[in-house]
């Protein structure tokens, strides 16, 4: 059945405004999307949906399901099951005709405009969307590394690590010491470590382990929503959480997974019941290896389109990009994906495009029905994506208002996963 968009497109074609010569003389233009997270899944869907079959879209993602980093803290806190934060990709194929290639993309051959897959085969593209997310810098915390992540989990890539952290939390005895090593800027999900601390404290309190203590060793002088979190910790978890900034701890000198010891310039934490190391981060390797990152380890983009400033056939969205004032969040990645999708559709089909607009909101659960939010609206400026107007929760909000904000948080999650996967 014909829909209204086709009517509009038909009408526009007749008047000549949306005539759509293809970039390739033969066959449809091809877009490859690498990475099926909040950025990649959204980009694949919107390019396929809005081009109505005029663009061939391939999503390269090795997994059949995606576990969201967002709300993985709610799993840790017992508010959601693991299944509730895990979603299938199959509707992207059945509803939008996207081809899902279940392999790792290992390299980008920019000169040939091809992606190299793990089995050695290649996929050609006219436009490439790179949404590889972050890589962890395993060498950023002395004594910790890939071989230590099963003992001292990071749980910063949602999946088995998230479940491991939950099991370790469940095993902490009353009076046990938990150390979280927080990451330096810039990193995925700025309020995430502190929501995680809140959810750990909630689990401990809810199970009567109120003599357990969480030390947060932070390399940063301050953190997202700091006043709101610290007020919440005092209110809900008195004596259970201590945040320690770099002036006090004087540097994280080393960790020892064998003895569960964390040593700072100021103090040594021995026989820890749980050590959560959230290391420094960079753009996913495939983007860095392709020469698309700068010295920061992340990828510069054109604020109008999310196009790489280093390759006009490649768009980089989500955590791997340098998105100016936008935080690295699932919401941001989803927003950036839509701008990139529009720009790509416009370039490949000469169809109508509009000025870029970006938005983000991050909700954080501190305790049951006590949720705060931070967010904003962002605009492309010549040098970077720039905050136009931002907002943050206040410390004097009523309990009823905070409960409503938690309802928003739950509704937003349902919305974004529907937007990504259905």
């Amino acid at each position: 059945m014909i829909n209204r968009r086709q009517i509009l497109a038909g009408a526009a074609a007749l008047t000549g405004t949306l005539a759509a010569p293809m970039v390739r003389a033969q066959g449809k233009p091809r877009v490859v999307v690498v990475g099926g997270g909040a950025g990649g899944a959204t980009a694949a869907k919107y390019i396929a949906k809005d081009s109505q079959g005029a663009i061939k879209v391939t999503l390269v993602e090795p997994k059949d399901t995606f576990t969201t980093c967002f709300h993985s803290n709610l799993y840790l806190g017992g508010f959601k099951s693991f299944d509730e934060i895990t979603h299938r990709y199959d509707k992207l194929a059945s509803a939008y005709g996207i081809r899902h290639v279940r392999q790792w993309a290992t390299a980008v051959d920019r000169s040939k405009r091809e992606i190299v897959l793990a089995d050695g085969s290649r996929l050609g593209y006219d436009r490439l969307v790179l949404a590889p997310g972050i890589d962890l810098k395993y060498d950023s915390v002395p004594g910790w590394g890939k071989d230590a992540e099963e003992v001292m989990p990071h749980a910063w890539l949602a999946g088995p690590q998230t479940q491991l952290l939950r099991r370790q939390l469940d095993a902490v005895k009353d009076g046990g010491v938990i150390v979280m090593i927080a990451p330096p800027n810039p990193f995925r999900c700025p309020p995430g470590p502190y929501e995680r601390v809140s959810m750990m404290a909630h689990q401990l309190k809810a199970s009567g382990r109120t003599r357990a203590k969480i030390f947060v060793l932070d390399p940063k002088e301050s953190f997202s929503k700091q006043g709101l979190f610290q007020q919440g910790w005092e209110r809900h978890y008195p004596g259970m959480v201590e945040w320690i900034g770099p002036k006090v701890h004087d540097g994280i000198k080393s960790v020892d997974p064998k003895t569960m010891t964390v040593t700072t310039g100021f103090e040594t934490y021995r026989d820890c019941a749980l050590v959560n190391v959230i290391p420094a981060q960079s753009a996913g390797r495939i983007a860095r290896d392709a020469g698309l990152a700068n010295a920061s380890g992340y990828c510069p983009i054109d604020p109008e389109s999310m196009k790489s400033t280093l390759d006009p056939a490649i768009f980089i969205i989500g955590d791997a990009s340098i998105a100016g004032d936008m935080p690295k969040s699932g919401f941001s990645a989803n927003s950036q994906a839509k701008v990139a999708a529009m720009a790509i559709r416009g370039e490949l089909t000469n169809s109508r495009t509009f000025p870029a607009r970006y938005a983000n909101t991050c909700w954080s659960l501190i305790a049951p029905d006590d949720t705060v939010k931070v967010g904003g609206r962002y605009e492309p400026k010549p040098d970077k994506i720039t905050a136009a107007e931002t907002f943050i929760s206040k410390t004097d909000e009523t309990a009823e208002y905070r409960r409503q904000v938690q309802q928003e948080n739950i509704g937003w999650y349902a919305g974004i996963v529907a937007d990504m996967f259905t």
Binding site: I2, R4, A11, Y46, R352, T361, G415, T422
Partner: protein
């Protein structure tokens, strides 16, 4: 009957080329076109809507804390968005989203969401 409703009602019967011809006729006849043109630009609204559907379900389904916004009368949609833009209605996220929207953009969103049908919940 508006041009848009007329077209969607008769789309199946007259086919794409017929519709295109009708629209071409409309564009050649400004009086008819002006009178019957939808108030908002639904194609523009569809683009702008991508900001909305990160939270609000495009299916029109209600979820906890996030109301459905599909298939509203356009006037009502416009009035609600103006009240957020003017900061009369509370909700800091909606005030922030509505703040930069022009009357034309709000009308475009109203036309787009107003023209969608509520779809059954996807399991």
């Amino acid at each position: 009957m508006s041009e848009r409703r007329f077209l969607s009602r008769h789309a199946r019967a007259i086919g794409l080329s017929g519709i295109a011809a009708l629209l071409a006729l409309a564009s050649m006849a400004p009086a008819w076109g002006e009178k019957h043109r939808p108030r908002g630009d639904a194609a523009f609204g569809e683009y702008l809507s991508s900001l909305c559907v990160t939270c609000h379900q495009a299916s029109g389904q209600a979820t906890a804390g996030i109301p459905p916004i599909v298939a509203w009368p356009e006037d009502q949609f416009i009035a609600v968005m103006h009240s957020y833009r003017d900061k009369q209605r509370e909700n800091i996220v909606m005030q922030n989203i509505a703040a930069p929207l022009s009357d034309e953009e709000i009308a475009a969103l109203a036309a787009y969401f107003g023209g969608l049908a509520i779809r059954p919940k996807i399991q």
